[in-house]
Amino acid sequence: MAQLDAGQFVAEDVPAEQALTVQGVVAEFEKVDDVIAAAKAVHAAGYRYFDVHSPFPIHGLDIDMGVKPTILPWIVFVAGVMGAAVGLTLTIWTMSIAYPFLISGKPLNSIPAWIPVVFECTILLAAFGATFGMLVLNKLPMLYNPLLNVERFRRATDDRFFVVVDARDDRFDEAKTSQMLEELGASAVETVKD
C-alpha cells in the first residue's frame, strides 16, 4: 500500500500541504476481538485493499480477511531441489570427472559419501528460499512507509491493533470509510497522507 512513486516528491517551492495526497485511513483498536470483528466487517463491506496491523500474528484473521494461502512452501521446495542438484553436481563432477582420485579402491562416484554434502546444500538453499522468498513476497525491505508518519501507528508493534483501508480501494471514501471504522468501535481514526 505504500506508494514509493518518485513522482510524488515535489519541488521545494511548493507548500508541503498541497503536495500531500490521501493514502488511506488508519483505525486504532484496543482489543484483539474488536479488531477481528472490524476486519470481518470491512471485508464484508466489500473492501479488498485493506490490512490489519498487529504486534503479533492473530491466527485465523488472515482467513477472515480473505488472504490467499502463500506460495512460499513451493518456493522453498524448488529451492531445496535446486540445493540437492547443486550438491550432487558439485560432488559427482569434482570427484569423478574434474579430479578423479582413487581412494581405497572405492568407486569414483561414491554416492553415500556425498550424502552429507548434498543434504547440507539442500537445507542451505531451502533456508535461503524461505527467508528471502518471504521477504520478496512481503515486498520487504521497505525503507519508507507513509503509515509510519502517523504517530499513533507506532503502537502497531507494541500493544494496539490497526485496520488500514487503502485509498486505492474502489470503495474508499475518506469520510465514509472513516465513519464506518468509527462505528466499528475504533478508539481513533486518522487519515494517512504522503
Binding site: 484483539v32 476486519a39 490489519v52 504486534p55 512452501p73 569434482t94 537445507i123 520487504l140 502497531a156 500493544d159
Partner: protein
C-alpha cells in the same frame, strides 16, 4: 493453580511450576499487559547498561583480546605453541571445537524442535538461546580454522576452483564438517534474524534518537505487523524450523563422523552420532541455564522466564543426561563384547589409566551431580540449578577431553605412547574463547531484544479471540488453544 483469566490478575509469585492436566499453566506471570512486555524487553535495549554489565563486558572483552593475541602468537610461531604432538595430534583445538558446537545445539533445539512440538514455553527463552547458538558456533568455527597449520590456506577447505586444478576430497568427514558447520551457522543466523524482525520494528518505533531509529529501522526492513505479512512470515518461520530440525541433528552427527569414521579404538563406534547429539543438547541446555538463571535476576525478567521455564529446561537436561549416561555404558559394553584387544584396552585405560582423573571428573559432573534434578525442589532453586548446570558445562568439556586425548595417547605400538601436556597457549585460548562468547552475548543483551516480544504476546491469554468477555465465560482458554 492460577487461572489464566485476565480479570483475576496473577500474583507475581504465583506457582506456575505446578502441573494440572486440566489447565495450561500461565507462561507470563505478574500484572503484565502487551504494553508492559514491550516496555520491559525494549527497556533493556534502551536504557544505559548497569554497572555489572560494564564489569562483565570489560572482563569478557579483555579475555577476547587475549584470545586474539594468542592467535597472533600462534600464527607468528606455528602450531608448536600448543601441546599437540604425536600421538596426540588432535588436542585442545578439537576439544574446544566440539564443546562449542555442542553448546549451540540447545539453542536450535529450543527454537526449532520445541516450536514444531508446540512447546509454548520456548517463547521466552528462544531468542537468547539462539543468540547463544550463533556465538557458540563462532567460537567453534575459530578452532578448526586456526588448527590447520597454515591458516592463510584455509580456503582450501572450500570447493573453490584453484590454480592447481585440485578439489577438496568429499569422501572425508572433515569436508562434511565444513559443509555442516557453515550451513548450520548460516541457517541459525537466518532463523535468529527472521525471528527478530518484528521486535526490531518495535525498537524502531520506540527509538528516540536518530542513530537508533536508523539502525533499528534498517534491520527491521520496514516491518509494520501487517496481517498479510504475518501470514507469510509465520509460514517462513515454520519452514525454517522444519529445516533447522534435521540440520541440527545432522551437524553433531557429522562432527561425530570426524571420529567414528576413523579406525582408532575409542573413536570407531556406531553409537557416536546419537551419543554426540544427546551430549550436545545436554551441554547446550546447561549453558542456556547458566545464562538464564542470572539473566532473569539481573535483567528483571522473572515474569517472562518463570520457574516453569527453568524447571522444563532442567527436565530436558536431566533426560538428555540420562541418554548420555546410557551411551557411556553402551560404549563400555560394546568394547567388552567386541573381543577387540585394543578397544578393550582403551576402555580399561579410561577409568584406570593416567587420565583417570579426567574420566572421573566427567562421570561426576555429567552423571552424578545432575541427578539432583530429580527433585522438584532442586529444579526450582536457582542455586541447585546453577550447580547442576556448571557441573554439566565442566563435564561436557571433559567428555570431549576423554574422547580425544585418552583415545590418542596410547597408540597401537607402546613405543609411540606419550602423554599430552597443554601449554599456556592452549589454556589461554580456551579461556579466551569464553571471552569471545560473552563479549558478543553481552552486546546482544544490550542492543537487541533478548526476549521475543511478539512471540511472548501470543502466549498471553489476551492474545486469543474470545477473551475478555468477563469472568462468567467459562472455557475461554480451551477455545483459544483450539484456534491455533
Amino acid at each position: 493453580m492460577a487461572t489464566i483469566h485476565p480479570n483475576q490478575t496473577l500474583a507475581p509469585d504465583v506457582d506456575n511450576a505446578h502441573d494440572d492436566p486440566r489447565q495450561r499453566a500461565p507462561l507470563v506471570l505478574g500484572e503484565n499487559t502487551f504494553g508492559t512486555i514491550t516496555d520491559k524487553v525494549s527497556g533493556l535495549a534502551e536504557q544505559r547498561p548497569q554497572m555489572w554489565w560494564w564489569i562483565a563486558f570489560m572482563i569478557s572483552f579483555s579475555l577476547m583480546g587475549m584470545l586474539f593475541a594468542l592467535i597472533g602468537v600462534l600464527f607468528l610461531t606455528g602450531v608448536g605453541v600448543w601441546g599437540n604432538n604425536q600421538p596426540v595430534a588432535w588436542a585442545f583445538p578439537i576439544i574446544n571445537f566440539v564443546f562449542w558446537v555442542g553448546i549451540g545445539h540447545a539453542g536450535t533445539l529450543i527454537s526449532a524442535i520445541l516450536f514444531l512440538f508446540r512447546q509454548q514455553w520456548r517463547t521466552s527463552i528462544n531468542r537468547f538461546a539462539e543468540a547463544m547458538t550463533i556465538f557458540a558456533v563462532m567460537c567453534a568455527g575459530l578452532f578448526p580454522a586456526i588448527h590447520i597449520g597454515r591458516p592463510w590456506l584455509a580456503y582450501w577447505l572450500f570447493p573453490i576452483p584453484n590454480q592447481m586444478d585440485l578439489w577438496p576430497q568429499f569422501r572425508s568427514p572433515l569436508m562434511w564438517d565444513v559443509f555442516a558447520v557453515s550451513t548450520y551457522a548460516t541457517v541459525s543466523a537466518l532463523f535468529w534474524y527472521v525471528g527478530m524482525i518484528p521486535d526490531l520494528a518495535t525498537l524502531r518505533d520506540r527509538a528516540k534518537n536518530r542513530i537508533a531509529q536508523f539502525a533499528y529501522g534498517l534491520f527491521a526492513l520496514g516491518w509494520t505487523g501487517s496481517t498479510r505479512h504475518w501470514h507469510r512470515y509465520e509460514k517462513a518461520y515454520l519452514l525454517l524450523a522444519a529445516l533447522a530440525t534435521p540440520l541440527v541433528l545432522s551437524v553433531h552427527s557429522v562432527v561425530s563422523f570426524d571420529f567414528a569414521v576413523s579406525q582408532l579404538p575409542g573413536w570407531h563406534t556406531t553409537i557416536f552420532p546419537p551419543y554426540f547429539v544427546a551430549g550436545a543438547i545436554y551441554g547446550g541446555f546447561a549453558m542456556v541455564l547458566t545464562l538464564a538463571v542470572p539473566a532473569r535476576y539481573l535483567f528483571g525478567l522473572k515474569d517472562l522466564i518463570t520457574p516453569r521455564h527453568l524447571e522444563n529446561m532442567c527436565k530436558v537436561m536431566l533426560g538428555t543426561g540420562l541418554i548420555v549416561g546410557y551411551a557411556y555404558a553402551v560404549e563400555f559394553w560394546v568394547a567388552w563384547y567386541s573381543g577387540h584387544h585394543y578397544e578393550q584396552y582403551v576402555f580399561l585405560n579410561r577409568p584406570l589409566g593416567p587420565y583417570a582423573w579426567a574420566f572421573w571428573t566427567m562421570i561426576t559432573c555429567n552423571i552424578i551431580i545432575p541427578q539432583l534434578l530429580w527433585f522438584k525442589w532442586c529444579r526450582l532453586n536457582p542455586w541447585t540449578i546453577i550447580i547442576a548446570a556448571m557441573a554439566v558445562n565442566v563435564g561436557m568439556w571433559f567428555e570431549r577431553f576423554v574422547i580425544v586425548i585418552t583415545s590418542l595417547h596410547r597408540d597401537f605400538l607402546p613405543s609411540s605412547w606419550a602423554m599430552f601436556h597443554p601449554t599456556w597457549v592452549d589454556i589461554g585460548m580456551l579461556i579466551g574463547s569464553f571471552g569471545l562468547f560473552f563479549t558478543f552475548f553481552l552486546l546482544f543483551c544490550k542492543f537487541l531484544p533478548m526476549v521475543s516480544m511478539a512471540e511472548v504476546k501470543t502466549v498471553m491469554p489476551e492474545a486469543h479471540p474470545g477473551h475478555g468477555h468477563g469472568p462468567e465465560q467459562a472455557g475461554d482458554f480451551k477455545r483459544s488453544t483450539e484456534s491455533e
